[in-house]
Symmetry: C2
Subunit: 319 residues, 2 copies
């Protein structure tokens, strides 16, 4: 790998001059610029990012912390930030925690060691000490990490109400709210609150929360048991994956009304029949990045939380 010195030598100039043309800084004669360019091309020169980062300036890298990348919602979230950051010439460092606090902690260290300029986090461990007073600008995604960390998220309560109202229109006698995770974890609670607000008497509303830390078969078994024991006209899930799991327990004709939450493009394309709430991922990511950049430029406004409006997506009946 050629270095800046090689280029300088080949072009017959000093390294400082090469640095200047790389960064397009200061005054250069068209002639030198051309010479240097030629040398760089000939040597397939690539500036060494490590050396560049060593100066304590910005590394132009943002860490993105996610529970996993298999859930289509997180996958789309990552894709969205990655594309937006890429357009801004930022590198994205993906950190998946698999729900292991240990791994999250290690990734937090790793991000520090890599001198990331900022962190966007959407995990379930608000109690990690490292989040208490973050050393780099951090924004939480749809989760409250700490009172000192701004958060961007959806208006989950409104989303819950949209779903609840939609279900209520079908005049169910009895329905189930199925939380994909312990309900005390944000953002589920507002979602459920919204649903309940819309499901007024005489609708009977049951509620079950799946243990977040159990493996899929255990969760499936719980769902199966709950569904078999009662006759529900509607099942309102707090996320799409739980919803499609529920759907599998019914044959097409006998299925009650099942709804999800999150509304990733993947789900809309491959489960077009599912009614769900669409989170405005594009806007959410744009806002998160904006907050990060404000904070990076020292433009520290006071810590706030943002709740962006959501939309109802009614599942298309398969003809």
């Amino acid at each position: 790998m050629a270095t800046i010195t090689d280029v300088a030598k080949k072009a017959g100039v000093s390294v400082a001059t090469v640095s200047r043309v790389i960064n397009n800084r200061g005054y250069l004669s068209a002639n030198t610029k051309a010479k240097v360019q030629a040398a760089m091309d000939a040597l397939h020169y690539q500036p060494n990012i490590a050396a560049r980062n060593l100066h304590g300036k910005a590394t132009h890298t943002v860490g993105v912390v996610l529970p996993d990348i298999i859930n289509p919602f997180y996958a789309e979230l990552f894709q969205t930030v990655e594309q937006q950051l890429f357009a801004l010439h930022y590198q994205t460092m993906l950190c998946t925690t698999n729900g292991e606090p240990e791994k999250e902690k290690m990734y937090l260290r790793l991000m520090a060691a890599n001198q990331v300029d900022g962190i966007i986090s959407s995990t379930h461990n608000p109690d990690l000490a490292d989040y208490q007073n973050p050393t780099v600008p951090t924004v939480a995604f749809d989760r409250v990490l700490s009172p000192t960390i701004p958060m961007v998220g959806s208006d989950n309560q409104a989303g819950g109400e949209l779903i609840g109202q939609y279900v209520a229109q079908h005049q169910p006698r009895r329905c189930l709210i199925l939380a994909g995770s312990q309900e005390d974890l944000a953002p589920l609670s507002p979602r459920i609150a919204g649903m309940r607000a819309a499901l007024t008497a005489p609708i009977q509303v049951d509620q079950v929360a799946l243990p977040f830390d159990q493996p899929a078969p255990v969760r499936n078994q719980l769902i199966r048991h709950q569904l078999a024991a009662h006759d529900y006209d509607a099942v309102l899930c707090t996320d799409d994956l739980t919803a499609i799991t529920v759907c599998e327990f019914y044959s097409d004709g006998q299925r009650p009304l099942v709804t999800g939450f999150d509304g990733s493009k993947f789900i809309r394309q491959y489960y077009p029949g599912l009614t769900t709430v669409i989170q405005p991922l594009d806007d959410l990511c744009r806002l998160a990045i904006q907050l990060l950049r404000n904070s990076m430029t020292g433009n520290a406004e006071e810590v706030t939380t943002y709740q962006l409006p959501v939309t109802l997506h009614v599942g298309q009946k398969v003809e």
Copy 2:
């Protein structure tokens, strides 16, 4: 952010000593080790990775190049390598190309600039000049990138035969092979070859390839048209996502036998009814990493391709 000098000062030793305890190298008195540890803890010291990388040694980073991260197969592929690499104390740099050769090229540069130790690539652009004689160890995943690059993949032909045989058992009169992408692109061709080998006369076999670069609606329209025009007893798709798209065009009772290919855990969990071929992701990733490491340690064996055995996954009927 504290530096090694700060730690040395605080512990009353030289930076070399600190470096030694960080890397656990050479002989240290228990006493000094403890002093240094204490100083590091007190200062929340994190070694700066950029500085460390500057020495031209390994960066302990491998780049993973994928078309996207939305497709559950790629998501699981990423998750698998990431976990394996993490266990080996490697960082993973995810590069998603979105099918844009330009973006892939930029990421290839970025990886070089970051001095990655190796690259695992699973994209569709074998003609990128950068792959012709890679400057860092590279292995292709289920794709032939260049004659100079080793590749690990599944035994796609055998997988195609498994699927074909399974379909043949149902004695279809007419069936369709639906390629999710231009068929000249590996690894589709062997898959199709395997299917055809098993679908012998008198079975009538049609074949259609979807344009890879068209947006989803166009592809959907093509599928719809093809399915409506003929009466198929079976539709064999070259990947799972195409398969579930096909399923949507039929109501449950009238659906012909539809099969997929790839068999990610996601698909098996959320489309348990789909018959597909499971790629041995764990072994594939392990092998890819092993090849990379051999190549990194200069242990360059000759370039070879590996085809790992696949298994048939028969979809469970929903009871």
